[in-house]
Symmetry: C2
Subunit: 219 residues, 2 copies
């Protein structure tokens, strides 16, 4: 069908397009794929020939319907496997990504159907990211960054922006979990750091940088 490499490019393009732009640049893809712009151009030609992307020289890239469907299917598999690893195999949320990067390329419709059933059709992955359904439908989240709220707002933690093990481990150590209630007690104007109360018990100071990377909804 498509090579692992093609799948990874498609996924990278999808994720870059999530930021809202109509098209994305060759350089942006190169950076995300940790490769060189010249390599990206070669691949763009190939993906365009397969009608997975819209591409005209120098004019940026977007996904065709076909390309988007493939991207969503890979993301579906990635997130289902992450959920599986955490729920059934005792992985921590900071340990699942690299294995899921491999598992997302396994080809078997029955496998994914059974995986979904086995997990009882989860709506989100261990990081709070929504899981596309079998048809490629993806719920749009209305979560916002904690940094956008104000003193006395009470929120529920629903996800993270940064998925790095370092950040996830910091959250673990500090005691943040998805579903926790977070009340903003104070805000420092100088550096935009926050004083917050988690689950009505623990008071913390967090930097603006941390607040930006925590996704919440208003309670």
């Amino acid at each position: 069908m498509h090579s692992f490499t093609e799948e990874n490019y498609i996924k990278a393009i999808y994720k870059l397009l999530e930021s809202g732009d109509e098209t994305i640049s060759t350089n942006a893809i190169a950076e995300k794929m940790r490769t060189k712009a010249a390599s990206v151009t070669d691949m763009l030609k190939k993906l365009a020939a397969k009608k997975l992307i819209n591409y005209q020289k120098y004019q940026g890239v977007s996904l065709t319907g076909k390309g988007e469907k493939i991207a969503l299917n890979i993301i579906r598999k990635h997130r289902l496997w992450e959920m599986f690893l955490v729920e059934k195999f005792n992985f921590k949320w900071d340990e699942v990504h690299d294995v899921a990067e491999q598992l997302e390329h396994i080809q078997s419709d029955k496998l994914i159907e059974e995986l979904d059933k086995f997990l009882n059709y989860p709506k989100t992955d261990p990081h709070g990211d929504p899981i596309p359904d079998a048809k490629g439908k993806l719920l749009v989240r209305k979560s916002k960054s904690l940094s956008q709220f104000r003193v006395n707002d009470v929120c529920i933690m629903t996800g993270v922006v940064d998925h790095s093990p370092a950040f996830l481990q910091y959250l673990d150590k500090t005691g943040f979990q998805l579903g926790n209630e977070i009340k903003i007690k104070d805000s420092v104007e100088f550096d935009k750091s926050l004083q917050i109360i988690v689950s009505k018990k623990n008071t913390f100071f967090i930097s603006y940088d941390v607040a930006k990377n925590i996704l919440v909804i208003l309670k």
Copy 2:
């Protein structure tokens, strides 16, 4: 570490060596890998450079200790995944092989440890094949082909030689399962076909070809 292709060659070499020969030929590997002898020679040079095989031009191939360890680990993963698919994901024993061929290349020690634990440390896979342990230790089976037994012998079915979906589906349809008792009621000298009684209930006639592909131990 090693590419999928290298892993598949190593596994193919291991399986060919199981037939008992000290070394195996380039052509045998080419046939098993469905590739050409010239391609095999190239790969043999690479594997020899990595000290995974013993290889001298024109003299045949065997695995080094290092190579054998890698082969056993891939086989371990393959068989654990097959067991997982049958036990947890409602796959039939004729449906698991192709997916396991993909899953066997996933790299994660923790994943395999947890998989083994999740299955409660199975000793054999859905086809009755033994699963190497984490150290690469493999139980040698003393099963023999049903065709080697005589009238009035009572056996227990422990495995199959042919793993093709066609043969496995034939066994399903006829009602053969691992663990079944098989008593040989009659033997036709002309074509070596057998009349057998399965689980003390059902009487069948099976060809020599089928009998050869059923593994049993004497009860």
